[in-house]
Symmetry: C2
């Protein structure tokens, strides 16, 4: 019985704000990300909030892919949990193409190591991209 | 705009195997966990696998609560992501009452710190409970 899984926590900042508030586009993009990761979608649920923002989850044969968005600040929080032969990092690359974040931060967590002293283990934590400079008073970005 | 969130990754080993294969009981238990955390459920999706195992997600006003179960080995992997004033740890305690794991391992991750150098930050990682002794050949547990 294979319980091992890989759980990516993804933070995207400086994203395309329009797509962050469009549940249909987000679902389409996430289905593409799941496909790139070689995962199979078995159910989907998306919910839009007032005044803006979306939460969505794809339940996968291999676990799940979720998103929560804050369009007002161009921020999205995601997690992509897969078991088996999937590659969630390939899904992350698809999300980056669609959301176009200025910064993406990823934490890669192994899970389900039930025969080891720790079942949870962080294997990577990286930040990539350009952190936007703050606006100077009266100045240019 | 408050983007800060708290994301608990929970691993439960040595659980009650019957409940791990019962999506109705799991959903009821997870709704109780969400309520204990002071979170509001906006959507739910559960899926049972062949020959056994369940994946389920509650989409919350404050993010999500997910479970993936391996009844054959008494293992469940969960994550509970909340924003705002919720307390996901209170939800973890409810899950422990229901699943009765022999071991629970928790990683507590802060998210959405978009003004800090790291948006993701681990604030706690703990293992509690008794690790079951392996069966000795012909012996007692």
């Amino acid at each position: 019985m294979q319980t091992f899984g890989r759980h990516l926590l993804m933070e995207y900042q400086g994203c395309d704000r329009e797509i962050l508030d469009n549940p249909e586009q987000l679902e389409q993009l996430m289905r593409s990300a799941a496909e790139a990761a070689q995962a199979t979608v078995v159910a989907a649920v998306f919910h839009s909030f007032t005044p803006c923002g979306t939460s969505g989850v794809l339940v996968l044969q291999e676990s799940h892919l979720s998103i929560h968005t804050w369009p007002e600040v161009g921020y999205a929080a995601m997690d992509f949990y897969t078991c088996g032969e999937c590659d969630p990092f390939a899904g992350h690359l698809v999300m980056c193409e669609g959301l176009r974040p200025e910064i993406h931060e990823i934490m890669d967590v192994d899970r389900g190591n039930i025969d080891r002293p720790h079942s949870l283990d962080i294997t990577d934590h990286r930040i990539e991209g350009r952190r936007p400079r703050p606006f100077a008073a009266g100045g240019q970005r």
